[in-house]
Symmetry: C2
Amino acid sequence: MESVGSSMTKAQEQIRPREQQKQATRAKILQAALDLFAERGFDGASIRDIAKRAGVFHGLIKYHFESKEELWKSAVDYLFERQSKEMADPDGFDDLPAREQARDWIRRYVHYCARHPEHARIMVQESLRDTERLRWAVKTHIEPVHRTARKVSQRWIEAGVYPAIPLHALIYMISAAAQSPFMLSPELKHGAGIDMSNPAQIDAYADALVTMLFDHSVRREN
Amino acid sequence: MESVGSSMTKAQEQIRPREQQKQATRAKILQAALDLFAERGFDGASIRDIAKRAGVFHGLIKYHFESKEELWKSAVDYLFERQSKEMADPDGFDDLPAREQARDWIRRYVHYCARHPEHARIMVQESLRDTERLRWAVKTHIEPVHRTARKVSQRWIEAGVYPAIPLHALIYMISAAAQSPFMLSPELKHGAGIDMSNPAQIDAYADALVTMLFDHSVRREN
DNA sequence: TTATTTATTATCCGATCGTACTATAATTTT
DNA sequence: AAAATTATAGTACGATCGGATAATAAATAA
């Protein structure tokens, strides 16, 4: 699991050791919140358990994040900001042919899902009930992401990479397929005996999805 | 939402009105548990709220189901028994060509997911953490279902309907894609403004998934 | 050095949780 | 009709929840 770094510069750290400690505490709480919200959902993760995992006193959460709701929103903000950074198109991406773009994007997204399964876990648990938190997440993060996803998908459909199905259908089936085995890795571990944190398994799954989407040519003759 | 019927015969009902009432209460509790476990997860759904929704006194849950864990297991038993009934292959299924079998199965499964979104909601919430409940569900229900799914998938791969990717990858990407928009329908409602309980939307999504899996022929020329 | 600010800690409160135990009323059995 | 059974209701307990308030200790500002 990756740590949530503070945003301090080196100069600031030397001048204000107090502020440095404060941000470090904040980051530890945020990381613990990501872990426990992903594992148990908003209701199931208690403030006291989050504080315990972060190694701080539970009252500090109110001090740093005002409330449990605000802590959750801060955690989700962090998730989507990190996704935006890590899923940025690499250099030369625009010069690739459409099919290679789609193929590359799928591979990168599968690896993102494998690296950060807590993202899908937190968002799925929140998206299957109609709460104020979901509405906030939709407006603040999901809608912007889907807006660009629709634009890109539309281009790939026009290029013949994907079939001409409704954009929301395309987006949901692809993202679900990419996230599923990593989000549900405990189930795969006990059921199929497969460890989805194994890099070989991650690559194999990315290969499988790409094959399923782009390289299955036999079907027409059948 | 469908009701959880009692298994009483008419004769029994007339002879034993007490037993009839008992089973009706049990069924009401089970239905309320399905709703609330799906909406809030095991921890988030309280015994008192389940009883309140069922319109019964909360102590009755211990009387009928012994404990919250046992109530959850009874609810999951019910889910998988219903799935087994409703997903049984229709008459003449074995006589269809492999591709038509796969196409028909996908359509039926999408409609099952639309009819009973609580199934995926309950199981997903349980499958993303490693608990005793998950291990029980894997051994009791998920493994048997996946065993037959692997057999069927293998046949369809050999028939060229699906590409030759690992069976677990095929199963997880297809079931995730089929469940996703119905499981996450609150998100689609607020985000895309789409009501996935609308029969037209259900059919459209089934069409889209079938097109994506079987009828996308342009890709080879690209 | 002294005064002030503040990051952290220590308690406490009312609410709710799962569940155990007892009471009751109505049916079923004898 | 009397006795036994039992489905349902009432209540109480210990634990834990989110959050509020007060105390403390250390760093910063004066």
